[in-house]
Symmetry: C2
Subunit: 198 residues, 2 copies
């Protein structure tokens, strides 16, 4: 369309590459940037570059961080005898938000997926093994998808050899759901994993 200035068209295209942002939303976002001050645009642009320049991966747990080792790995107040294994850095954030876990993490960077050609060597599994020395408990907090389940099973076998206690976060009904709307597998897991009321 000749009526969209070229630079605006480019910005719209860039924004529509975001997950969950369609052409219309991208246009709305672009007009928002255009309406705001140049200073706002500079701040946003700088923030975009900064995350790429400042954030690296922790060499111990593979979580994202500006310092290596990351704040969690280098926090002596945390329980260094517990490791929680997750798929992605976002999962660390999610668990940290609960405030109920005070151990360390290990970010796999994905899950085993034979169909997509992702094997153990594509994940951060190799350097998980040396970290298990002296560990009391490993918690598997991998998404309960088919590939996630496969990965959990694979890891639990691998870790048990090291004589470390392996647990998995509970599967069951999410809070606030109506039982009748829960899918069968969730309900099955909820029944299997029922706990004693005290």
């Amino acid at each position: 369309m000749s009526s969209i200035p070229n630079s605006l068209q480019i910005l719209i295209e860039q924004l529509s590459r975001f997950p969950g942002v369609g052409k219309k939303s991208a246009r709305r976002l672009a007009f928002f940037i255009l309406k705001n001050s140049r200073e706002d645009a500079v701040t946003l642009a700088k923030a975009v570059i900064d995350v790429k320049d400042r954030i690296t991966e922790c060499s111990q747990c593979h979580n994202i961080t500006e310092n290596d080792p990351c704040d969690i790995c280098s926090d002596l107040k945390r329980d260094h005898k517990m490791i929680c294994i997750v798929q992605e850095p976002m999962d660390v954030l999610a668990i940290e938000k609960t405030g109920r876990y005070r151990g360390l993490y290990h970010v796999l960077g994905g899950v085993l997926s034979p169909l997509n050609g992702i094997g153990p060597n594509d994940l951060n599994i190799d350097d998980l093994m040396p970290r298990l020395e002296g560990i009391r408990e490993v918690i598997l907090a991998i998404n309960p998808t088919r590939d996630g389940e496969t990965t959990s099973l694979y890891l639990s076998k691998l870790i048990k050899v090291k004589d470390v206690n392996v647990t998995r976060i509970a599967q069951g009904l999410p809070m606030g759901i109506d039982l009748e709307f829960a899918d069968e597998l969730t309900l099955t897991r909820a029944i299997e994993g029922r706990t004693q009321l005290r």
Copy 2:
């Protein structure tokens, strides 16, 4: 949260300022930027700055443009005896997409809104008047909101003095809607504005 690197936190805050983007979406967008290459980040950042640096307002119609006068105003193939008055530059895009209008535009930059203290002097009305010389028809394509209707009425009175034919884009049922779900005002307008079938 100590577990979110500072630069990522800043980016999330910047992104959550976008209209319709909440904290969770902002986080997803930020992680998307983080996962992509540095080159992608630079391209996006550049696009954000470029729209602010390159885009100005057309001195004739007040549409956004990289050249002044804009491509529409300087297109000799268009009908320079018709002006379509719209609220915002996005409205020009919307009408251009239909491909059914070949005249010029005039972007008001808003609507009259006594409650928000927006009067005629806050809109691009002053320099609309000189543009009306020799014009055959002015089409009012202002949003059918309360303030929009007020603005249409105000403008039509102003323009009629200049002996120019003033029309308004039709109001009625949108395509694909069930009549029973249309609101009363829309249905009233649809009945009032009924057209002869040929």
